[in-house]
């Protein structure tokens, strides 16, 4: 019976020249496909991984690769059996014996099948061999690029793979190659990118780049930390991965921002190398790079080593911490004072200290002028004199390494999703509140693994049950980004915020189920580190609101916004802030809002939180807990 089904299947194959095939060749094809069927090879995790097949959002079993060129059978994307039969047929009937042959196009598939059955010898694949020789990896790492300075929107991070080469051991990892998946887009418009990205409007592709390109881009130009996680893989598994990368080649896939993004598409690659990992199937609906990193980190034994390659800013501050006050002023003078005075002063220092001062100067100059070519002549002249002074320090002088310290790795942070349950009351009655948040971190959350003073919230829903109105929507927040970046002697980032949400306007003191107001607000200001663990900030904001609850249907105004962010130990935080808004148009009036939010992390993913809040005459107090996952 099985055989009959199989034979019917063979008729459906698009196998070219099936009728022209010699009888003995046809017999070989039949034997091989029958064997593949008997061994149920099409259901093996190895085979499904090679095709990138898993359940999609609608629980359909299909490949995330929608490029027909990747498959040998027209239904290969959804039918692993048909694709297997077509692949076996191609290998058995292979006549081309060069780079264009099936075994050269699909070396990983060939490797898998040749272990299960006798196949004709693989062709000589000159191009593949020379490419493989070039990469020649003996280790694989996953690399996570963390956040831009002062840009919480980048909190999602980015991941790519790094293939390390043994023969370049002397040279360090800069010459390693990376495997990167990215959307192919020409737009520089972030909003357009986000919208099209959400809807699958782009296609993505894998690319290889030397690691030094990534380092220049992320560490230097964007000043992001790079975290390297070495993965436990045998040489045979790495070879399989390399073969599979070759199979993918220029294959493109629809790029979905949420679940088929840069970090998701790396997981099928790891599954190919180690099919038992099953990483890809854990991320059907939502693949935040941070979560994919956690999945990798939490797979027992998979990560064997971890290394931080600090951002330029982190490195600069670490270097500066090795200088005393006089030396810091000297390093600044080398950048700010074009007279010959600082050069003379530097020349008077001991060689090692001179080198440290000049290295700090160089970092500061780069920080201020940016990593761009064609700097103005004045900047070039300043750089030249720093480097001329630097090369006078003999190369043999040993310098202490920059004290980077213990930086909490990104995977040590709380989960990216959150639910919360609260109870509270206002002047009228008590209420219960349930909140669900899509992502990722707020100011009051534990900062470990994130950046203190940064917030990126998206898709935060808060619903309340209160007698009288019963169930109502307290708030739907599309997004809120806050960056509280304290001013530093060398770093002067603006602090800023932007928010789009619909929330009950409690200052109207109307029925909460009839006072939902949609608003967009944002602004910028300054913040200062007042003491260790205490940040103060102040901002100007603009605010536009629309809603039926407003008499004229809208109001717009300006606000002064200030707050204190205190932290005691790793577990306890308090955020106190106030906003005074003057609405000039629409419903003219004033609004004063005050909030006090203490939060205590019992564990990494369980947090107690309270909120004392007033908005004009309305007062409320809530308390409850948040669970992160």
């Amino acid at each position: 019976m099985k055989r009959i089904i199989l034979l019917i299947g063979l008729f459906l194959l698009p196998a070219t020249g099936w009728s022209e095939r010699a009888p003995e060749q046809q017999a070989a094809v039949n034997r091989a496909t029958a064997l593949a069927f008997d061994k149920k090879l099409a259901e093996r995790p190895e085979w499904l991984a090679l095709l990138h097949i898993s359940r999609d959002v609608l629980f359909r079993r299909r490949s995330s690769i929608d490029d027909n060129d990747f498959f040998l059978h027209p239904r290969g994307r959804v039918d692993p059996h048909a694709e297997l039969a077509a692949t076996v047929t191609a290998f058995v009937t292979e006549e081309v014996i060069d780079d264009e042959s099936a075994s050269c196009r699909y070396p990983a598939r060939y490797e898998f099948l040749s272990k299960e059955m006798d196949l004709p010898p693989a062709s000589a694949c000159a191009r593949f061999e020379s490419w493989k020789e070039k990469l020649a990896p003996n280790a694989v790492s996953m690399v996570f690029s963390s956040y831009y300075m002062n840009n919480p929107a980048s909190i999602y991070g980015h991941t790519f793979l790094k293939l390390s080469r043994d023969d370049y051991e002397d040279s360090g990892p800069l010459l390693d190659y990376t495997i990167n998946y990215a959307a192919t887009t020409n737009t520089k418009n972030g909003v357009l990118f986000a919208i099209r990205g959400l809807m699958g409007g782009y296609r993505g592709q894998f690319s290889t780049e030397p690691y030094y390109v990534k380092i220049q881009k992320y560490n230097n130009m964007e000043s992001r930390d790079l975290w390297e996680y070495r993965l436990d893989m045998t040489q045979a598994q790495i070879d399989t991965l390399v073969k599979h990368l070759w199979e993918l080649g220029g294959t493109s896939m629809v790029y979905y921002f949420f679940n088929k993004n840069c970090s998701y598409q790396l997981l099928p690659l790891l599954d190919v190398a180690r099919p038992e990992l099953g990483l890809a199937k854990q991320f059907r609906f939502r693949a935040i790079p941070l979560d994919t990193l956690k999945a990798v980190k939490e797979t027992p034994g998979l990560v064997t080593g971890e290394n931080l390659r600090p951002s330029h800013t982190r490195l600069m501050l670490a270097r500066r911490s090795q200088l005393n006050d006089t030396e810091i002023r000297l390093a600044e003078a080398m950048v700010l004072d074009p007279s010959s005075a600082p050069v003379k002063a530097v020349a008077g220092l001991e060689p090692a200290q001179r080198a440290l001062v000049l290295d700090s100067s160089f970092h500061l100059l780069r920080y201020r002028s940016g990593f761009y070519r064609d700097q103005p002549p004045a900047v070039q002249a300043l750089e030249r004199r720093i480097l001329d002074a630097r090369r006078a320090v003999p190369a043999g002088i040993a310098l202490p390494p920059p004290p980077i310290g213990n930086v909490a790795p990104p995977e040590s942070g709380h989960g990216t999703g959150r639910v919360g349950v609260y109870a509270g009351g206002d002047k009228r009655k008590s209420f219960q509140e349930v909140t669900v948040r899509g992502s990722i971190h707020d100011l009051e959350g534990a900062a470990m693994g994130y950046v203190e003073g940064s917030q990126l919230e998206m898709f935060n829903v808060r619903a309340r049950y209160q007698e009288g109105p019963d169930l109502y929507l307290e708030e739907f927040k599309l997004f809120e980004i806050i960056s509280i970046a304290p001013r530093d002697r060398w770093i002067h980032p603006p602090s800023w915020t932007v928010r789009a949400h619909a929330a009950v306007a409690h200052d109207l003191e109307k029925d909460p189920d009839h006072s939902l107001v949609t608003s967009l607000d944002g602004g910028s200001g300054l913040s200062f580190q007042l003491a260790p663990g205490l940040i103060g900030y102040a901002m100007w904001k603009g605010d536009v609101e629309v809603g039926d609850a407003l008499r004229k249907g809208h109001r717009a105004g300006a606000a002064a916004h200030a707050g204190l962010l205190a932290r005691a130990g790793r577990a306890f935080r308090v955020h106190a802030f106030g906003t005074a808004t003057r609405f000039f148009t629409g419903d003219v009036g004033n609004r004063l809002e005050l909030s006090l939010i203490p939060a205590y992390s019992v564990t990494r993913n369980f947090e107690l939180r309270a909120n004392l809040r007033r908005s004009n005459g309305h007062q409320e107090a809530t308390g409850g807990f948040n669970l992160y996952w």
């Binding site: 191009r127 490419w131 070039k134 360090g172 894998f206 070759w246 993918l248 480097l387």
Partner: protein, 158 residues
Amino acid sequence: MKRIVTLAAVMALVAPSLALAKGGNHPMAGCGLGYVLFGNNDNSPIMQVLAATTNGTSGNQTFGMTTGTSGCTDDGAVKFVKEAEVYAEVNLDSLRSEMAAGQGEFVTSFAALLGARGEQIPQMVSAFQTNYAQIFPTSGTTSAEMLANLSSVLSAKA
């Protein structure tokens, strides 16, 4: 002395294309990357250079991949002869400061890329520092000029 001879031999391998680069012709006709690196007068922010290097993707051109960088890359991996040029261009700022310091990760890898091994690496890195004024005569020295200067510095030593 032996080591310098070795290094000079390596540089000689790189030198022919550098000589072309100085001659004003596009040294790698038909090669997109080389065009961006040397034909674009180096006035682009580094991102554009990086963007160009990403043109070559991994894998197999029989899968319909076409790129303008076929002269530069073997299916996405940078060809050896061009490797020093690409490296020098992308990392020019880092090389400028680390050559002055006579130490650092970028100069170490660069020495290894030029063929130095083991003991030879610190020696070559130290030679970068000693000959800094010839290698980077001005603050505006381009990567192609730097490589040509380096080539003549190392040949002179031999």
